[in-house]
Symmetry: D2
Subunit: 303 residues, 4 copies
């Protein structure tokens, strides 16, 4: 398969969609991004990377980062992690408090905001610094030592972060946070504010396509655990549209409100698409369409 | 791979689990089934079938039948079907009314009871007889012309079917049923009361492993639509434990409270396991464990 | 106080409101009623009745009838009734199923539809004929032997009654109905379809103003129990607007989607207002305004 | 009526209930209170005060204080207040977040915690210091210039106040707080930590029995607004047991988890009972029973 050619075609075919969708506006730092951008990168399990469009433009990673903190926490904690966070789809928006109350402070899965806060909290306890663990992992997988969070975005997240503060305090009221609320929030906001390119995210996701093996050949996760993260991505990775994403795309994927989506073709590829215009569920309109075209044209959905 | 040997091993290894779980007791006809039974059948895309344990014992198909009515309705109706039923995981038990109210009578997916009633209603409109369509499809795929519903079970379903009647009337109040409530319920109860063996169900599910091709070589569904049903099975097929099932087993699967589970290895196998003892979510304890062993030992999860 | 003069004034002052509100349209038989009607009747504990506007025009009693079946069931059953229905405000629309599911088939109070169905079911068991009990009580209190249900309305209720059928089947699934669903629904629809005038309803409600004493001087309820029904009316009698009604009017009241409201001034009066235009909660716009004027001008709110 | 005699009798009759109920344990400062205490005070509209039991022992006022901040905010703000908080019963526990999410950050009523936070926020804006406004009002009505909050309790509230912090941040995320979250919480915790006796609270509540007139004869609220606060107390004042309280007691009342309940007999009395053992809804077991005895023996329920 000529991956470069395919990516070029897809980048061309999604152009009409770039006016659709709405750029995330819950923080000013994101609202200013131009919606007319689209990038797509593909990394093979051998480590080759190609891309099309704005694939080397850095954007705000947002919830895509939840994939990496989850992997690191699972690697360090094993099955114990699942005592503090579930792995069921939520059937509710990503920042809802309703289910959290019915389930007594145990988030449904690690990809809704409440669950990601628990993962960061756990990683903080296990490693002493959740943020540095994630950052160092990403630098190692990509070979880019300048990967960092955007100070402006992180400050904006903190300033407008009442909903996440509510989630964190709510879980603390149930005894489901180990570290101080303000500390967990800070770590979480920094992780969300990561600035990376499609190329870098595709590289960083390769350990999931390789069933647990990092860029340096070492094993982060057992084959089973790596597959299990893929399963969580497929069932829970795109907010309250996971069923739709599985139906259309058929790959494990994790989206962010910055417009990025990381998707895995197990055993073959790690893909990252980015376009800032979002649908009503918070997923990139052109990004989902690009992945839909990819699996339709290659037949590479997992199903 | 020596499938027969593997199935024998699994049937042996799950024996300690046969005392766990509780047999469904919401209708008397099911409550009398002995929990000490376990069967597993595997059908290859070439049509070979093997099995272990009670793989040739007929049991009550229950919600596994939803897979077939969905496939037939999708084949007849195409994308229009999704205007009347969603395809998102529900995050609630299979017979809950809560989400149905918040979403104005549109069920979250075709595998919760409300969604299956809508599918039966639509199939009834499209074919004139939903039940006969399902029955005739199953007879054709298995070559067994005696496949039918169990009169005793169907009568029991109707007698104790207040929850399903509530769901049907509730959807009718939103205008989301085309046929009379009593007619839709009768067709639905007959479908639930189907009596089939693991061997037969594995054969009947092969069109999903073959990406849409029936036993006679004709195409029921496009390659994409067949894959999409697999996606719906994976995200919604095991009630409020779909995330757990994806995490442990990693295959598209559809369970029933009779203790059966149909699972698909796309491009290779259709599997059916059966054991009557259920976990708190309504899935067979030994059945899920057997499929977990299968994918662990073969590495054949889709992830 | 010159009650007749006051009622005349109020009937005049609410005229501008008669174009506001929407006539109930969930059944055709109600949708045809002209919204330009307003009636108000006042009955004193001594038995005097006066009125203004269309106070002698019969209209569809609808949920106001729930007051009478509750009183009769409480008289016959005593405190046992409260094992099957609560007495807390619901915080949800009158025909919602959500809370019913969270509370396992026990309705929050006897004035939401689910609770009224339980009351009818209980009255049916206790008296052998719930409908005849209510009808005969109303005939006795008003001296009008022709009080009956409107056949057209009752048929319409049954035809469009999917929501109530859903509620009844749902409670039956929890074992909270003693009689067949179809029988309970029929009795309930007849009660809703009662056709009475403001004058008659005001007379029929006098036993609540008289703290339990009927028109013939006999006691239906103990002083305490009569007061308790007033309490339930005040906290639960006007659907999801009970707080608003208490705040503005400050009297025990029970409304119906026919546009009628029965209100009690304990120890003094029974009032009935009627005007078909409803607000978004299902309460008569001009009716609530008329009662608001009444308590503002007389100072007779219970607070 | 010999009020002193009646209070003595009631204090004697509730003794067997003092072992029932559980002392609030969500903050250590409250958990240490002995459950064997009971006090009851009655203040007449003429200003006479009598009491029985521990009626002159100070206790933690907790949510009873919400009555006073509501009255002061309504006096200063008028109807505008109701744009930011509703006045409907909630049908949920007092610190639930569920309804707050469904209603987009507008609390159902001023007596659930979320609503009380909005009231404190508004009072803060209107007066420059919500806490001092409440404190000075209470000092003026009781003539006791040493009324203050308990530093130990306030610190404990703040330390264990994650649920309230969640509520405040959640409302801030909807734009329904005007002042900084930390400031509103501090003011709220100080108000909750007020330490007062039954005698003082009965005196402080007299303005509601007097339909708006303060101890010095000046008018705080119009007659209508005072009655309206009574209406809100009756429909919303005892958490998710307001219907039960109206049914048993039949008076406007506001309870606190310190075990106090303020109840109003409009035009006649302001009552305060206190006993630390709580029922499952957070209301004092002996306190509710004492008020039940009071209205049963005097016939003074509002119904």
């Amino acid at each position: 398969m000529d991956e470069q050619h395919l990516l070029n075609e897809i980048a061309r075919d999604v152009q009409p969609l770039l006016n659709q969708g709405r750029v995330a506006n819950y923080i000013p730092a994101l609202a200013q991004v131009s919606p007319q951008q689209f990038g797509m990168a593909l990394a093979t399990v051998e480590g080759e990377v190609c891309g099309a469009g704005d694939w080397q433009t850095a954007f705000s990673v947002q919830s895509v980062a939840k994939t990496f903190s989850l992997a690191l926490a699972l690697a360090a904690d094993g099955e114990r992690l699942w005592q503090r966070v579930g792995r069921e789809p939520s059937g509710n928006p990503f920042n809802s408090l309703v289910q959290l109350e019915y389930e007594h402070g145990i988030p449904r899965n690690p990809f809704i905001n409440a669950g990601a806060l628990v993962v960061v909290d756990r990683l903080q306890t296990l490693t002493g610094d959740a943020w540095l663990s994630v950052r160092d992992f990403l630098r190692a997988e990509t070979g880019n030592d300048r990967i960092d969070f955007d100070q402006n975005v992180a400050a904006s997240e903190a300033h407008y972060g009442h909903r996440n503060a509510a989630l964190a305090h709510f879980m603390a009221s149930y005894g489901n946070l180990e570290n101080p609320v303000s500390e967990v929030l800070q770590q979480y906001f920094q992780q969300c504010a990561l600035s990376m390119t499609c190329a870098e995210l595709a590289q960083a996701g390769l350990f999931l396509a390789r069933h647990g093996i990092r860029a340096d050949g070492s094993r982060l996760l057992s084959r089973s655990d790596a597959k299990r993260i893929n399963a969580v991505m497929l069932t829970c990775g795109t907010y309250d549209a996971a069923g739709e994403f599985a139906y259309r795309v058929g790959l494990p994927g994790k989206s962010g409100v910055g417009g990025g989506i990381l998707a895995i073709v197990p055993g073959r590829y790690s893909l990252c698409v980015w376009s800032p215009g979002l649908d009503s569920h918070g997923n990139s309109v052109a990004g989902v369409a690009a992945l839909d075209l990819f699996t339709t044209r290659t037949g590479l959905s997992v199903f």
